[in-house]
Point group: C2
């Protein structure tokens, strides 16, 4: 999808998850690279990401960092006070990989098993998770899609639903947080920011979970429910084209097809003519692997 839009606009795309920031800097001497090296640094490393968000004064989950064995003492104290926490590899983790819930007795063993820098993150008593899907052009102008509510299982996104059950004020607050992140990174393109919505009696209504410097799985419904999708707007932004409207003409639910789910593709089409099916054409089925998704739209509910 993305690659098609991109090649039509003369944009070269590449998977940057494992491309070192130094490589970004080298390429940038010869050609515009979007997102930029700074974004790669921040988004590829949970410790850098936490420091970056903290430096902006943005609310995140309480956490401890584990960069060497000496950090275990402070981390153990943090875990004792937090009660419930997840140990996550700082790099190369996604879709629930490279993370595990730890009890105090297991902390040292788990950290040594990962054998790399980690963050230990408190498990928040959040109400739900939403994400902001934003697009920023080189001039700094930004537009936002309506926030979806995200449902995970086992650390993997199962479904996203829009509109999320949040107030317009909370959506605006989430968008403002995203605006600050994007501006600080000098970001160009589509940016996803995952946020926890905290209980109403919490003094902090939103906490940033993660920055996703790309078109985001929780924004795939924009293909079916918006005038211009996140994919097209990403490439328009990167190519320096005028951005398209992020307006949403329909309500939508996007459900990922994980692992064996994808085998039911024909039944999905047979049982629901209104289902929009996307198959990614991957070569093998593996438990939890994202192999496609289905979007269902409905007329917008009246406010």
């Amino acid at each position: 999808m993305l690659a098609q839009f991109a090649s039509a606009c003369g944009v070269v795309t590449f998977e940057f998850e494992n491309v070192p920031a130094a490589t970004f800097r080298m390429i940038a001497r010869h050609s515009p690279v979007r997102p930029c090296a700074r974004t790669a640094e921040v988004a590829q490393d949970r410790i850098a990401e936490k420091r970056f968000l903290t430096s902006l004064g943005l609310p995140i989950a309480p956490h401890a960092t584990l960069e060497c064995e000496e950090d275990l003492v402070a981390a153990a104290a943090f875990l004792a006070s937090a009660g419930r926490a997840i140990l996550k590899r700082a790099r190369n983790g996604y879709d629930g990989k490279g993370q595990s819930r730890v009890a105090s007795a297991e902390l040292e063993e788990s950290y040594k098993a990962f054998g790399c820098p980690c963050v230990l993150e408190a498990i928040l008593p959040f109400k739900t998770e939403i994400s902001v899907i934003a697009v920023r052009e080189a001039s700094g102008a930004m537009q936002f899609y309506d926030c979806p509510e995200n449902n995970h299982a086992g650390g993997i996104l199962r479904s996203s639903e829009v509109p999320a059950p949040i107030s317009p004020e909370l959506q605006s607050a989430a968008q403002s947080i995203t605006e600050r992140i994007a501006a600080a990174l000098g970001y160009v393109g589509v940016l996803g920011v995952e946020l926890f919505v905290m209980p109403e009696d919490d003094a902090v209504p939103l906490r940033v979970n993660e920055i996703a410097p790309r078109v985001h799985n929780s924004g795939h419904w924009t293909l079916d429910a918006c005038i211009i999708s996140q994919f097209e707007n990403h490439i328009r932004a990167v190519a320096g084209w005028p951005l398209g409207s992020t307006n949403r003409h329909s309500d939508a639910t996007m459900t990922n097809l994980l692992g064996d789910d994808v085998r039911a593709w024909r039944d999905i089409l047979q049982n629901d003519p209104s289902a929009s099916l996307y198959l990614y054409g991957k070569s093998s089925i593996r438990a939890g692997r994202k192999l496609g998704h289905v979007t269902r739209i409905q007329p917008r509910k009246k406010k």
Copy 2:
């Protein structure tokens, strides 16, 4: 667009405008071919098309056929009584090519200039032109998109607007006509049928203009305004997949970018963020050539 959906479904596509029906028959001995040879015969030749529609008892424009010089006498008499008529090559005409309006004094000369079988068609005092975009699966089940109203200039489609300003009864009548055509051809896939809407005092409310055995230019708005587009449904039908909903979530106007129109692509995006732009990537600009289109959607008007 079509080719992408097709290859994902294991369907091989080809341009069949100039493939002889005999070739269809030969291929059909080895592999399913959709549309079928009979459709190619009928749709590639205006004389065969008129005979086919007449054999079904469907209303078409009054006309005379010119297959040899001897037919000139009857054609001249037809022209004298019709008053205004267009001479069209029977084969290889499209987008206003291979046709010209003729006065009585020019008929013989024009026919000899074409140098091939022609039809001489009365110019009807129609109110407007609509089209039916239908999809038929191998089982015979059919679904219809809402009819667009089509605006032409110089024999070339300029724009299509949906909904067309016609009653639900007239839309149903147009769909019934299309159903009979598709059933008679054993058609599988998306079929476009262009129809003239006659003035209210006319005893015949609709007359078939042309059969288009393919996804149709006047149905391109389905990409933006419908749950499943004509492109995806065409390939689903051809591949034997369950059909998707043809429901329309929005009103829409589709405007073709002809010739130099396409140079304004950036201004279109700049001035209207809600415009969905499609550029076909053709290698050269020629007056009247279809080089892209723009769709604009609006919320459905209340009935």
